[in-house]
């Protein structure tokens, strides 16, 4: 993790970011699963290759966690 610049961040906004991140995580992960898992499921239906569905779900979760990390984690 890169060093946090203490001067730039007020403690109040730090706490708010943390609370926002904590409460946004479930919603983001669910959205990632629905979007990319759903996309994978559609691909599976069209191509007949079943493995696209679980790949889509995993991609969705990874992207959602990455999003939360980039938005709040640094």
């Amino acid at each position: 993790m890169p060093a946090m610049s203490e001067q730039e961040r007020r403690p109040e906004s730090d706490g708010r970011d943390f609370a926002n991140a904590a409460w946004s995580v479930p919603s983001y992960i669910l959205s990632g699963i629905i979007l990319y898992g759903g996309g994978g499921w559609l691909l599976s239906r069209w191509t007949g290759v079943a493995v696209f569905t679980p790949i889509g779900v995993i991609v969705g979760v990874v992207l959602a966690i990455y999003l939360v990390y980039r938005k709040y984690g640094r």
């Binding site: 708010r16 609370a19 926002n20 409460w23 919603s27 669910l30 629905i34 979007l35 992207l63 980039r70």
Partner: protein, 262 residues
Amino acid sequence: MKALTVLAADEFKAPGLELFDLPPIIPGVTWFTKPVLLALLSSLVVIAFCWSAFANPKLVPRGIQNIGEVGYTFVRDQVARPFLGKDADRWMGLLLSLFFLVWIWNLMGVIPFLQFPVASHIAFPIVLAVSIYVLKIYLGMKHQGGLGYFKNMMFPPGLPKPIYVLLAPIEFLSNMIVAPFTHAVRLFANMFAGHIILAFFSAVGFWFLFEQLTPLGAPVGVVGVIMTIAMTGFEMFIQFLQAFLFALLAAMYIGGSLHAEH
């Protein structure tokens, strides 16, 4: 339990969805059912409570003003300030009413004879969640501009450009559909499940101790009664927690609309 009940003349039947299917209180007036009555009653309780606590405040609080101020301080410090910062005081009216209303709704589930958590009918939490949702979008467009609101929401700064293609849809779905949906469903599902659990254990106790008292069944009935008492205590904790969470998420959505993140 199955083996025990088979011995009995009549089988034990666990309570199910019929718990939530209540007839109209006045025949013919189909919309006026028990949850509607309890919701109206809850509103009256909250209005009466806030009136008596805050209408004529004393410098040194006494009686009901004391309780009101404890509740106010709790909502302000735990719900409003962490998410709204300096805007917290302006939103306390909404958040305090929301917290108390949902808490009283939930408490209806354990008050003897009333015993029905209002939010276990999903229409009630949906109305509150939709109200907050509309408010969230209105405030977002007012403070960040119609396009700016969606731009700030879907394209948070600080991400590598190509990644936006993948992440913007997640942001949109999360903020516009999943968040308000889970806001309502979280409260509904907790109250729905809690009511079924309480009904199940009290039905076990009642059945095995009163309706079909047998030497083998009696201990099961005792377990049912003990579990009813324990789960009622636990349920009261969940009721408070869910009211707190509902108000907390409302504060978070409002805070997110007032200021773009970063």
